[in-house]
């Protein structure tokens, strides 16, 4: 038996303790979904680089580590939450996968929005949780989402009432850590947007700087007919953390969904972002910008399922890589036979700031309809030296010129963030991370002349 499989056994053992322990009080349908997910994970185990979807992302460091199932609020959680507070927003805090009412702030909860912790909400059939929870993705193709579902216990459900236009943003802060102990958490978010409703929801992933933990998150979004949901993801985990997140959205006719992801943290990141356009005239945006240095790895797999006619999709992913950082971008677009008049546009760009940084970029278009417009473009390069000279020749130092170009590069994606207070916060974090990642590390030789 390989060490990978042994660790996988430890999750199986943990599941046994969880199911008979703190997970024992869940309703039967939750238990059933867990059981399904668990048996899927127990059979398939962790993915390996022999699988196409994981070819460039070796998750052995996750599989080989011993992570204890996290529980409860740990000491630095409230300080971490305070550092990312968005004024005026409804704040929901999830610590180690559990909704933390004490750190949350629901005082500005507007009309049209209902919020439940999943462990409470799951007991109440009226909210549609049973209909939607763990339904937006296939367990077989999303091994980590299956693992999350096996440990499904708590988390947050947000229900937007049909017709409600919610102006107040909702900010979910997902804090993970174990006071020095390496823990794993499986935070869970479910958003159900009724017909013609509108809301802006952000999730910030954070942990204590330098802490080692494994965060395995899943968010499911159900966008009703004509609804408009924006989901912002700020991934600023500890740079020693492992961050695996699934965002899976299903969009009904004339619905609009946008996912914007800003990633600066974690040692290994894997984002699986899937959007299924299941009704005519639906529209989606899937944007992201990420930044990594050292030997970190940022993997984004996006999947867009154009299942119905007259849908549009817009996708821009940008990466900045320094040191020996590695990135993977896989942008899958499926245009099904019925999805005539599809208009899909995908762009992936990466800037490599050192000779050792690298990216594997792969557009994956599977088009079965014949009357469609699909464009994709990938560009990987270095900073434009002519632009660098132009800026320097007007008096900017090389470092200032480089920063200006990098800000402009990332700025296009950050500008899409429509909650001003959050945009400023994310912008500041992104550019602080940029300064950190570009500071030459001793002996790294990453500063190019």
């Amino acid at each position: 038996m390989s060490p990978v499989a042994e660790r996988h056994d430890s999750y199986v053992a943990e599941y046994g303790r969880f199911a008979s322990g703190r997970g024992a009080t869940a309703p039967a349908w939750v238990k059933q979904r867990r059981e399904q997910a668990h048996s899927q994970f127990a059979t398939a185990g962790f993915p390996t680089t022999r699988q196409e979807d994981w070819r460039f992302t070796n998750i052995t460091p996750i599989a080989e580590s011993e992570f204890a199932l996290a529980a409860g609020v740990f000491a630095p959680a409230s300080a971490l939450v305070a550092g990312v507070t968005v004024p005026g927003a409804v704040r929901l805090v999830i610590v180690n996968g559990e909704f933390a009412a004490g750190l949350s702030d629901l005082s500005s909860l507007p009309k049209g929005l209902r919020i439940a912790s999943l462990s409470d909400g799951a007991r109440d059939a009226t909210d549609g949780l049973e209909t939607h929870l763990a339904k937006a993705f296939s367990l077989a193709t999303h091994p980590f989402a299956a693992l999350n579902t096996a440990f499904l216990d708590d988390g947050v459900a947000i229900m937007v009432t049909a017709g409600a236009v919610v102006e107040t943003p909702v900010h979910i802060v997902i804090v993970t850590g174990g006071d020095g102990k390496a823990v794993v958490a499986h935070p869970r978010l479910l958003i159900i947007a009724g017909a013609n409703s509108q809301a802006r929801i952000a999730q910030t992933f954070i942990g204590a700087p330098g802490a080692v933990y494994f965060n395995n998150a899943v968010a499911e979004v159900v966008v009703g007919e004509g609804a408009n949901i924006e989901l912002y993801t700020d991934q600023r985990e500890s740079d020693q953390a492992f961050h695996i997140a699934n965002i899976q959205a299903v969009v009904a006719a004339k619905g609009v969904f946008a996912s914007h992801a800003f990633s600066t943290g974690s040692r290994i990141m894997r984002h699986d972002i899937g959007i299924a356009l299941r009704g005519e005239g639906a529209d989606c945006t899937m944007n992201g910008v990420y930044l990594a240095d050292g030997e970190r790895l940022m993997d984004t797999h996006t999947s867009l399922d154009h299942a119905m006619p007259h849908c549009t999709s817009h996708e821009i992913y940008k990466g900045i890589l320094a040191g020996k950082a590695k990135a993977v971008f896989n942008g899958r677009i499926i245009v099904q036979l019925d999805a005539q008049k599809t208009d899909a546009k995908q762009t992936n760009r990466a800037l490599l700031l050192s000779d050792d940084a690298m990216i594997n970029s792969n557009p994956q278009l599977e088009i079965f309809a014949d009357d469609v417009k699909c464009t994709h473009g990938a560009a990987v390069g270095q900073l434009d030296e002519e632009a660098m000279f132009y800026l320097q020749a007007r008096g900017l130092t090389r470092a200032a010129a480089r920063d200006m170009l990098l800000h402009a590069f990332a700025g296009e994606v950050i500008a899409g963030l429509k909650i001003p207070a959050l945009r400023e916060q994310i912008e500041a974090n992104f550019f602080a991370a940029l300064a950190r990642d570009l500071a030459p590390r001793p002996g790294s030789g990453q500063e190019r002349r």
Binding site: F389, A393, R394, L396
Partner: protein, 253 residues
């Protein structure tokens, strides 16, 4: 102000400048003319410090300092300005934001207070008016989507705001129609002063009808082969560059 001695420059493995000698004093306007490939633009870019232009010999002393020892940003901060022949489009970088950063970098070097947004805008609006530049140009990304004429005007606009001591204009006239040429020339002429010098690199005599030089130098095959007053430009116009070539080798030591 500028003393260039026996300057030799390579681009990749090709020797382009084979020993340029040029002395520029404050208040003077020098025109550098020459056929394509003679090394005019190489001279301009080498003065600005382009990293692709490798100085293999000679010297350039600017206000007593070794110009060649300074990085491009340091030259700019010491008030050496080059107007680019091909200005670079920089998407996402706001023209005004960039110009303010450039101006404040220079002011800081000079020990002056940095300008805040309001003072900067006041200064900029005054310059825009002189140059007949539309204010919308400020809010666009640097040179992005600019027409050829707009790019040249933007260069002169940057020059007007940065107020250099030594300005090098690299073929600022190329691709301009007569009206745009006049605007650009007016901008330059408005800046002529006893403290400031210009090096105007051009292929055609036409620009020199508007920016009247004190000296004209003819470059051929990486060397200055003729120097003279304004009349030299007229002579060139009449006879063409071919006329300079027989005299080319060893015309000037």
């Amino acid at each position: 102000m500028l003393d260039v001695k026996n300057l030799q420059v390579r681009v990749e493995d090709k020797e382009i400048l084979r020993g340029i000698n040029l002395t520029v004093r404050a208040g003077e306007v020098h025109a550098i003319m020459g056929p394509n490939g003679s090394g005019k633009s190489t001279f301009a870019r080498a003065l600005a410090g382009h990293p692709g232009y490798q100085v293999t010999g000679g010297s350039a002393t600017y206000q007593g300092q070794d110009l060649l020892d300074m990085g491009p940003h340091a030259r700019a901060r010491e008030c050496v300005f080059m107007a680019f022949q091909y200005s670079v489009e920089i998407p996402g970088v706001n023209n005004a934001y960039f110009l303010k950063a450039a101006l404040n970098a220079k002011r800081k070097q000079q020990g002056l207070d940095e300008l805040d947004a309001m003072d900067f805008m006041a200064l900029v609006k005054q310059k825009l008016k002189i140059l007949h530049v539309d204010e919308s140009m400020l809010m666009r990304s640097v040179n992005e989507g600019f027409s050829g004429g707009e790019k040249k005007r933007n260069e002169i606009f940057h020059m007007a705001v940065l107020e250099p001591t030594l300005a090098v204009l690299d073929e600022t006239d190329s691709g301009l129609d007569i009206d745009a040429l006049r605007v650009v020339a007016d901008g330059v002429n408005a800046m002529r002063s006893p403290e400031r010098a210009f090096i105007v690199v051009t292929h055609y005599q036409r620009l020199l009808e508007y920016i009247v030089p004190d000296f004209v130098h003819v470059l051929a095959d990486g060397r200055i082969v003729r120097s003279g007053g304004r009349e030299l430009a007229l002579e060139l116009e009449e006879k063409g560059y071919a006329w300079t070539e027989p005299a080319g080798t060893g015309a000037r030591r």
